[in-house]
């Protein structure tokens, strides 16, 4: 049976990151956007954990933890804004909120 090495993790994280990235590019719904960014961050977390383990160095994991924390707070702020917007526009479609242009 094959040995799961660091590369597999990195590939996984790469795939995840691209998925998230695509989501960011394609999604029109604000909530989905947030999810996509979360996916990207978590992809990074995997990479950090893997690399940290590979080097036997803690700072990777540390970074991962901090990223999680930051992600959480981002969600908090993001959802706050999201709610306000929903109150204002009654929708989370990005095409609706584009009053400022030019």
């Amino acid at each position: 049976m094959l040995e799961i090495g660091v590369n597999h993790y990195l590939i996984l994280s790469g795939i995840l990151f691209s998925i998230g990235f695509m989501g960011v590019l394609r999604r029109k719904n604000l909530l989905m956007l947030f999810f996509a960014t979360e996916v990207m961050l978590n992809a990074v977390n995997i990479a950090f954990a893997a690399i940290g383990n590979y080097y036997g160095d803690l700072s990777g994991q540390m970074f991962a933890f901090f990223v999680i924390a930051v992600a959480a707070s981002e969600v908090a702020v993001g959802l706050g804004l999201l709610i306000v917007l929903y109150k204002k526009y009654g929708s989370l479609d990005l095409d609706v909120i584009s009053s400022m242009k030019g």
């Binding site: 990235f21 960011v24 590019l25 999604r27 029109k28 956007l33 990005l94 095409d95 909120i97 584009s98 009053s99 400022m100 242009k101 030019g102």
Partner: protein, 638 residues
């Protein structure tokens, strides 16, 4: 003596300021004219004294102050009083004095009487500078100065409106003035170039230094200097092809024509050549001198032909001036500088007289210029009749008259130099001269009283004016008698100015002279037969002849003015307009387009700012991808 020089120079200036600054805008004051005339007379007196001094003691050279000094160039206000300049001074001041006095009568009804005298005296001042200066720059001051004054005086009646060329060949006084100024400017450029050449090759503009250095210069340079200076001379002395302005300049008041466009200013060119005789007599520039002579001869003939059929009394005189200038250049070109100068003086006298006489006629005929409308004025205005008769005899070069000596000498010179073509043309021209000058006399004073039909009541000029003209008449008769004295006088200058006929010429002199006289007499006789008759054999217009090509050609001055209009004036105007278009559309347009382009780019690129978050994200994401891709590629490459 120095003070005398300054008096001679500045008293006209004082007169000009007096008339101009003090009374320039005030209503007519007769005494301004008298003051001005008196001051000019002062100049005359001092000039004569100076002439005596030059003859007895020798030339005077004074330096007043520095004018321009930059780099190695230093130009002083310096004046040299030698045989040449003093001759001119005497002639100029004498003629101007008389013209001034004449003008007090002639202009007495003009509301800008004071202004007129301001200009006239200013002109004399400028002329004096021109004559007396001891360097080329100073000469140029006077050169331009007389140009401006002639501009002011020709355009004196500036209020007259433009008329089409067909009605009036010289469209209007202001037009004629501008034409004169600009045409002279063309020549002045040549003069300036000459000055530059002299400076960079010799390092000074002082006559004495320059003429001493001349012989050591390379031929090419000498030739170019000679040509450049002569171009300048051509402008002022209205030599072909820069001659058209002179006839148009007749728009000015007649005293102006008499003074500026007959006696003095137009001879400045001749004066320049004579002044530069050490240059023109050099072997290296012999070609140029020959060219001068031939051009002069050509102009003499050319102008005479036009004068044959001219109807405008002043134009006739102007054309005769032109042709006489041709004589002078012929003489100067052939190296007989002193003869040229002598003819210049003689011509100044009788031509001024002729003009003033013509002025009287105009005055009598209420400024009518067309000789076809005149005739039989001899009883109405006897004084003028006599004067014009004398002047015309002198001009025609009949014996004992001034013209006889001076002009004959020139023709002899041509013979003496062995340039027989020139000689021949000059002789023929002499004949024509006699014809057209008397044609004009007979037209105006003999024959039917054509003016009566037109309701003119001619009356002669004021007595004092006629008396004032007497000295001119006297000189027109007698000036030639002093040729011998004058020769001794001017020979004192240097040897290049000296000129002697060879023995053969002396031997044939009587024959040559009699040929000229014969031709002149035939001319007069023809004129008499054709124009002087009364009753049944009175002159009648000859439509057939007037319709002929020759007549048209001469009437239109060989179409030279038309040519200038067609091929210089109009193209220039059109080109200017085109350039303006180009400047606005293309040159300025490109600048504006650049600005517009910026704005457009801004406007289009603003499209990315469409306010939609997802497109922002796409921009960002795509940007990031591109950067990463570039990164990968470039890392793979190198």
């Amino acid at each position: 003596m120095e003070t005398l020089v300054y008096i001679a120079l500045f008293s006209p200036f004082v007169g000009s300021l007096f008339a101009g600054l003090l009374f320039g805008n005030s209503p007519r004051k007769m005494f301004t004219g008298w003051v001005a005339s008196a001051l000019i007379f002062v100049t005359f007196v001092s000039s004569v004294t100076l002439a005596y001094h030059v003859a007895t003691v020798g030339a005077i050279h004074v330096q007043m102050m520095d004018w321009i000094s930059a780099g190695d160039l230093s130009i002083p206000f310096g004046f040299v009083i030698d045989q040449i300049s003093v001759t001119m001074m005497v002639v100029v001041s004498l003629v101007s004095t008389i013209v001034h006095i004449y003008a007090t009568g002639y202009m007495d009804h003009d509301k800008s009487y004071n202004r007129f005298f301001a200009y006239l005296s200013a002109f004399v001042f400028a002329m004096m500078i021109l004559i007396m200066s001891d360097n080329f720059a100073g000469l140029f001051i006077g050169w331009e100065g007389v140009g401006v004054c002639s501009w002011l005086l020709v355009g004196f009646w500036y209020h007259k409106a433009d008329r089409p060329f067909e009605e009036n060949p010289s469209i209007s006084p202001s037009w004629a003035a501008n034409e004169a100024f600009i045409m002279n400017r063309v020549a002045d450029l040549g003069m300036l170039v000459g000055i530059f050449l002299i400076y960079w090759n010799i390092g000074s503009l002082q006559y004495d230094v320059v003429f001493d250095a001349m012989p050591h210069l390379a031929d090419g340079i000498l030739v170019s200097i000679a040509i450049a200076l002569f171009i300048g001379a051509m402008g002022k002395s209205a030599q072909f092809p820069l001659h058209t302005w002179l006839t148009d300049a007749m728009e000015g008041p007649t005293p102006v024509s008499a003074l500026i466009h007959a006696a003095t200013m137009v001879t400045a060119g001749v004066f320049l050549v004579i002044r530069a005789n050490p240059l023109y007599s050099l072997e290296a520039v012999h070609g140029v001198s020959m060219f001068i002579a031939s051009l002069g001869t050509f102009v003499a003939f050319y102008a005479a032909t036009m004068a044959l059929i001219a109807r405008d009394i002043k134009r006739i005189v102007a054309l005769s001036t032109l042709s006489q200038l041709g004589y002078m250049f012929a003489a100067a070109g052939l190296g007989a500088y002193w003869i040229a100068l002598f003819h210049l003086a003689a011509h100044a006298f009788f031509k001024a007289l002729l003009f003033l006489g013509a002025g009287n006629v105009m005055h009598a005929m209420d400024d009518e210029l067309d000789i076809f409308k005149m005739g039989g004025l001899k009883n109405a205005m006897r004084g003028s009749y006599i004067y014009m008769g004398i002047a015309s005899f002198a001009l025609a070069g009949l014996p004992i008259m001034a013209g006889f000596y001076s002009k004959d000498a020139i023709i002899e010179t041509a013979f003496n130099e062995g340039t027989y073509i020139i000689w021949g043309m000059l002789v023929i021209t002499a004949g024509m001269t006699a014809f057209y000058s008397f044609r004009q006399v007979f037209f105006s004073f003999h024959g039917e009283k054509r003016y009566e039909a037109l309701g003119f009541h001619p009356h002669d000029m004021y007595k004092y004016v006629l008396i004032a003209m007497a000295p001119l008449a006297a000189l027109a008769i007698s000036f030639g008698w002093f040729m011998g004295y004058y020769k001794d006088f001017i020979y004192g200058l240097n040897e290049t100015v000296q000129y002697e006929m060879s023995h053969t010429t002396h031997h044939w002199a009587w024959l040559l002279g009699s040929i000229v006289i014969a031709l002149a007499l035939t001319g007069i006789f023809l004129a008499w037969k054709k124009y002087a008759g009364e009753g049944e054999n009175a002159w009648k217009r000859d439509e057939k002849f007037e319709a002929s090509f020759i007549y048209k050609l001469l009437e239109n001055q060989y179409y030279v003015p038309k040519f200038y209009d067609q091929f210089i004036v109009q193209p220039y105007t059109i080109a200017s307009a085109k350039f303006w278009e180009f400047d606005k559309k293309t040159v300025d347009g490109t600048v504006d387009d650049l600005g517009k382009a910026c704005l457009n780019i801004g406007d289009t690129s603003r499209g990315m700012q469409n306010g939609n978050l997802s497109s922002y994200l796409n921009w960002m994401g795509v940007g990031a991808m591109i950067i990463v891709i570039i990164a990968v590629i470039s890392s793979v490459i190198g």
